[in-house]
């Protein structure tokens, strides 16, 4: 079976359109986040309390919400897991401002007391998460640093293995994927949590994979297609690897889709992030990475005559 038989699409011709589309999506994402007052952070980064309750009978979220009426701040009450499980997740904002307030878990007590007093049903606390302000700030810093350093590490590696303009292309593509993914996370109302950041970091490693495959092919084709223009070589390479690019994204997507559907509440945001990241990664490999590499190579050629193509002893055909 073959998805693409001898594909010959002119991807490079569409590079400016692709860049425009990506900029549009990212700008919309930024604008959306701006209007919401920043990227919504989960309790891992913002601090706060999560309580997971298991009721013995079905209880409506509204009644739980009503029982917690008196507690300060914006609360989230939602069904957790399958509807038949009668499990409710309650999320409370950070109320402990100083770490010296030794009672980090006091909101858990207040909330469970309020729920017991409301007599809406017997329940059991099956899980709690309380993150204080110190850890939140610490994790924020670590998350940002880890993301930046892994991108930096990958850049250095690619710059070492390929020409610098290609490394730049790969890095722009990686940033592109992270920003697009963040935009979609915002559109679909996901909070930034530890798991989501883990997914974002995985995407930095994954999205650059496709790009490396294309660049490897470009490097190989440079040897056999000496007379052709950079654009042509890149376009041929993208087409030659298109089947692989789409299929590998496809198999990973199948696995992550299963994670999204069956992996449960905890992993759902992770799986969503991966799904968006994989799609964006494939798109950016085909349209963005190569385009940036070409644009940057061209600028260097203009700045430095004779052009690299000339080192093959032939003038560039354009």
């Amino acid at each position: 079976m073959q998805i693409f038989t001898k594909p010959n699409y002119n991807f490079i011709r569409w590079r400016w359109h692709a860049i425009a589309l990506s900029v549009l999506v990212i700008a919309a994402g930024v604008a959306f986040m701006w209007s919401k007052g920043g990227m919504p952070l989960g309790i891992d980064f913002k601090g706060g309390t999560i309580i997971i309750l298991k009721f013995q009978q079905a209880v409506s979220e509204d009644r739980v919400r009503a029982a917690l009426e008196t507690m300060p701040g914006e609360k989230v009450v939602q069904q957790y897991g399958a509807a038949s499980a009668n499990e409710i997740l309650v999320r409370l904002p950070q109320t402990v401002q100083r770490e010296e307030d030794a009672l980090l878990d006091r909101d858990v007590k207040t909330a469970t007391d309020a729920l017991r007093a409301a007599k809406i049903g017997t329940f059991e606390v099956i899980g709690t998460e309380v993150v204080g302000p110190v850890i939140g700030a610490q994790l924020q810093r670590k998350g940002v640093l880890a993301t930046l350093f892994s991108i930096l590490g990958i850049t250095v590696y690619i710059a070492f293995r390929f020409r610098p303009s290609f490394a730049a292309g790969a890095i722009v593509a990686t940033f592109h994927d992270i920003l697009v993914t963040l935009a979609f996370l915002a559109f679909f109302g996901y909070d930034l949590s530890l798991n989501v950041v883990a997914a974002l970091l995985t995407i930095t490693g994954y999205s650059v994979n496709d790009t490396i495959v294309v660049f490897d092919r470009v490097r190989e084709n440079f040897r056999s297609m000496r007379r052709d223009s950079l654009e042509h070589v890149v376009n041929v390479s993208v087409n030659q690897t298109l089947g692989r690019t789409v299929i590998t994204a496809g198999t990973t997507l199948l696995a992550v889709l299963s994670l999204y559907l069956f992996g449960g509440e905890v992993l759902e945001p992770f799986a969503f992030t991966m799904i968006v990241g994989i799609i964006s990664g494939t798109y950016s490999t085909v349209f963005i990475a190569a385009a940036i590499a070409i644009i940057l190579s061209r600028q260097r050629e203009q700045a430095r005559v004779p052009a690299p193509a000339a080192k093959n002893g032939k003038p560039r055909a354009s």
């Binding site: 059991e124 099956i126 899980g127 998460e129 997507l253 992996g263 992993l267």
Partner: protein, 521 residues
């Protein structure tokens, strides 16, 4: 079959056999994280300022004594912050005498140049570092002892945080998180002090006989009125006690639950030699007076000393059986050098963990089925090759995890699922290349050889890039996320082996048995 190929086939089988032996039976060999088996994850900060403050206060008392010994009067010594204090009102012309008295102090504190008969003292920086380090280390050891006494299987107690003053505690399978939290955090500072006056209903009543002035060597400590009858409403009373303790928890040798004369739960303790000597002296000289048993700044009971006691004592109060047990545990494990605050706590009930295992396994199987079906449909017989090498990849991954004693977490299962999806990536890369080579009119054997050879560097590049990301992920993450980074990294490494070595060996094995003119790919 050529010799080389036979050896490769044997190597593959050996790796598979060793791997299966390595993780079988999986429920014993693969360690589950807290999020899967349930338990408590805590991060505490040691308030090392407490240790500094204590040292500064001790030094202030020392200085006061030294100054008095020199016959200087009218000075005030006051604390400024945990590492600073200042001395005011040094009489004119007595500066030299004061500085002589402060010589000892200056081995630990820097004296700041003062004006008008006052000096500031600041703790030396290396002493600050030393004291903080000691406090954290001591707290860590104390917590370890307490956790071990709780009877938790495979607890983890480790230092974390950039400043090194945080302690992470993981207690798998703990049933009563609140009790564990209380036990870990209680300072458990036991002090036995002679009572000078009291009990009295209020602080003011206590000071009445002394015209409202508390003598310098005394302090007022609150406590519970010891009515004796259980169920009585306990009222707060105040005792005036000597500041210097006769014996502290440092001198304890052991503590265990017992009953007092009215059959109420109590804690009996015994003292070490040094403590027994001090205790014997204090009790022998003060028969007929009361001795306050103070725990964390509260008088638990204040029995009358009836005779000279050396090394045995009892703490009685209004305790439940459980409280008595916990208190003996805490006393045995020693006092914390500084107070602790909780920064983060996550508890996972066993039912939630089981739910996570269920959904994780379902998702993994679902992903496996989807990928297998796709590979079979798209690559037909060659798809079988990819599937076998993927399964071997998973087997090696499991074995490596149990060998490194790595923890399987819920995100770790996600890493597993990603390994399924991304593992076939390399196979796809190779197969697509083989297809291209076949299209280029090459023979099957040559096409396979070219396919594997040409993409090897590409596979190396992609795996290195992913490993770089996974390494930073490991650095960044705590608990569950580290589990993810671990599975992902090991999965990537074993994938290079299975996709390149195992898969190629299988192709060549099949080809060595029959001359194929077409490849099912």
């Amino acid at each position: 079959m050529d010799k080389n190929l036979r050896w490769r086939a044997i190597a593959v089988l050996a790796v598979v056999a060793i791997s299966i032996w390595g993780f079988y039976p999986p429920d014993k060999k693969v360690r589950l994280g807290l999020d899967l088996q349930g338990g408590v994850h805590l991060v505490l900060r040691v308030q090392t300022d407490d240790a500094l403050r204590l040292d500064t206060e001790t030094t202030m008392e020392q200085l006061q004594e030294a100054v008095e010994a020199k016959g200087l009067t009218g000075l005030t010594v006051a604390g400024v912050d945990p590492t600073r204090f200042k001395v005011d009102g040094i009489p004119e012309g007595q500066d030299g005498a004061f500085r002589e008295a402060a010589v000892d102090v200056e081995t630990r504190f820097n004296r700041e140049s003062g004006t008008g008969g006052s000096y500031g003292f600041v703790m030396k920086p290396n002493l600050i570092v030393q004291l903080r380090e000691d406090a954290v280390e001591q707290a860590l050891q104390t917590i370890e002892r307490r956790v071990n006494e709780l009877g938790v299987a495979e607890p983890i107690v480790a230092r974390t945080g950039a400043a090194g003053d945080q302690i992470m505690v993981q207690l798998p399978g703990v049933k009563d998180p609140q009790r564990a939290k209380d036990i870990i955090r209680s300072t458990a500072l036991l002090e036995l002090k002679l009572v000078e006056d009291g009990p009295a209903g209020t602080r003011e009543q206590l000071l009445q006989s002394r015209n409202g002035v508390l003598p310098g060597n005394m302090e007022v400590v609150p406590g519970v009125s010891d009515t004796g009858a259980p169920g009585d409403r306990a009222e707060t009373v105040y005792y005036m006690v000597r500041k210097v303790a006769a014996v502290t928890g440092r001198d304890l040798r052991n503590a265990k639950p017992t009953l007092d004369e009215t059959n109420r739960p109590a804690v009996s303790f015994s003292l070490n030699t040094d403590g027994a000597r001090k205790f014997g002296k204090a009790t022998g000289e003060n028969i007929g007076r009361r001795l306050a048993i103070i725990l964390d700044g509260r008088v638990q009971s204040a029995p009358v000393i009836e005779g000279r006691i050396f090394d045995e004592g009892r703490i009685s109060g209004v305790f439940s059986q459980q409280e008595v047990q916990d208190l003996s545990l805490i006393l045995r494990s020693g006092a914390l050098p500084a107070s602790l605050t909780y920064l983060e706590e996550r508890t996972v009930g066993p039912s939630l963990g089981a739910e996570s295992i269920r959904s994780g396994v379902t998702a993994a199987l679902g992903g496996l089925v989807l990928v297998v079906v796709f590979m079979l449909l798209y690559y037909r017989l060659s798809g079988v090759n990819a599937i076998v090498s993927m399964v071997i990849n998973l087997v090696v991954l499991l074995a490596a995890m149990s060998y490194f004693d790595a923890t399987m977490t819920l995100p770790g299962i996600a890493g597993f699922i990603l390994t399924i999806g991304m593992g076939v990536d390399s196979n796809v890369l190779i197969f697509e290349r083989i297809k291209e080579e076949l299209a280029g009119q090459k023979g099957v054997k040559q096409a396979i050889a070219a396919g594997f050879d040409r993409v090897f560097l590409t596979i190396l590049d992609t795996h290195v890039a992913s490993l770089i990301a996974a390494a930073f992920l490991f650095q960044f993450g705590t608990g569950p996320i580290r589990g993810f980074a671990t599975t992902l990294s090991i999965g990537l490494l074993s994938n290079v082996f299975t996709a390149v070595f195992v898969s190629r060996t299988m192709f060549e094995l099949v080809l060595s048995r029959r001359r194929a003119s077409a490849l099912s790919i």
